[in-house]
């Protein structure tokens, strides 16, 4: 499989890739120069064939009987995942989770920067959290730049749809939805749901059965 292939990369694969990347960076710190998918699979608790399949979506080729060159694999993965070019986004809702995202240094490391935040709480407007200024949501139209396509949704559930509508009306093309409601958007807008409470449900179920 190569990059000319038009089929979409499976979402599970995309979600595993950042884990490989983190694993590889740690391995590199520990002095590893070369690593096999067998090794990666073993260390990460993933099926080794799965690792090979996942990596085959990138352009990298492994050396038979040796494995993959760590440095090359890292840079290839970063390019593939677009973690080495900076994407910008807006944050809507500077509550506890929103604030955490503003303070999180990890995001820039993965090629993402929150360039402005929006809230409706008068006490928060004008504040600067982690280098990002907070504006009133009503000022979004005025403040926004057309080249920012990603919006983070961390508002209370009651306002999720409403704020999502504002994003869509103003040209946002991808919404990273941290709320526990499913929002309705046009087909052209991509939504990634990341509700942590959803995972809590899984934990409770597996723990008590």
């Amino acid at each position: 499989m190569n990059k000319i292939d038009t089929t979409l990369v499976p979402e599970p694969t995309l979600r595993r890739m950042p884990c490989y990347l983190t694993y590889l960076k740690l391995a590199q710190q520990n002095g590893a120069k070369v690593v096999s998918s067998t090794q990666i699979g073993h260390d990460m608790g993933v099926d080794p064939t799965q690792v090979t399949k996942d990596l085959s979506y990138t352009c990298i080729v492994g050396k038979t009987r040796v494995g993959y060159e760590v440095e090359l694999l890292i840079s290839e993965l970063e390019t593939f995942l677009r973690f080495n070019t900076m994407d910008c986004g807006y944050l809507f809702g500077a509550g506890s989770l929103g604030t955490a995202l503003l303070l999180d240094h990890g995001l820039t490391q993965f090629g993402f920067e929150i360039v402005a935040a929006f809230d409706v709480n008068p006490d928060k407007i004008g504040l600067n959290i982690g280098g990002t200024t907070i504006y009133h949501t009503n000022d979004f139209k005025r403040v926004k730049h057309d080249d920012v396509k990603i919006g983070i949704l961390t508002v209370p559930v009651e306002h999720a749809q409403e704020v999502a509508d504002i994003m869509v009306d103003n040209g946002i093309e991808a919404i990273w939805n941290f709320t526990s409601v499913r929002i309705k958007v046009p087909d052209s807008v991509f939504v990634q749901n990341t509700s942590i409470y959803a995972h809590l449900a899984v934990i409770f179920n597996r723990l008590h059965s």
Copy 2:
């Protein structure tokens, strides 16, 4: 399907259920008494048959041509997901994400309470964040209670495995892993990976293709 069935509830179903719950609570606030799976599916952008299938894992039965009684469905879902009985957990790593979880009021609403937090940063030991005291990780063995089975992992990636090992050695049965490394644990321990960066990879890929 009923509760005597031994097959596991599919993870995708478990992850959708909290969304149904949130949707239903909002609908209830808006005065809805009865709702059909067709309606839920339409409003949430989920296939209506999927909604029916998902709900059939609980004990609730819908009325033909009418739908489900909202209040009953809410309480049935809450019971099923164990959101109305309090589970306790420990948090490891009081960084930006860990702190956000400590400050988040939403968790208790979903039946989860962080009863103690652990970190290695001397500046943080002894602090009280959102009602939770922070102890040194080395004191875990001394502080822990045997009935707490859930551990939240929000430490830097370099220490993830090490801290996970401490948890496992001290009787933790489920680890909610927010780091971007896959940790290795015995089969008896359940791990739920919730790395937000993984979702970033999906957003970038879908946005740029």
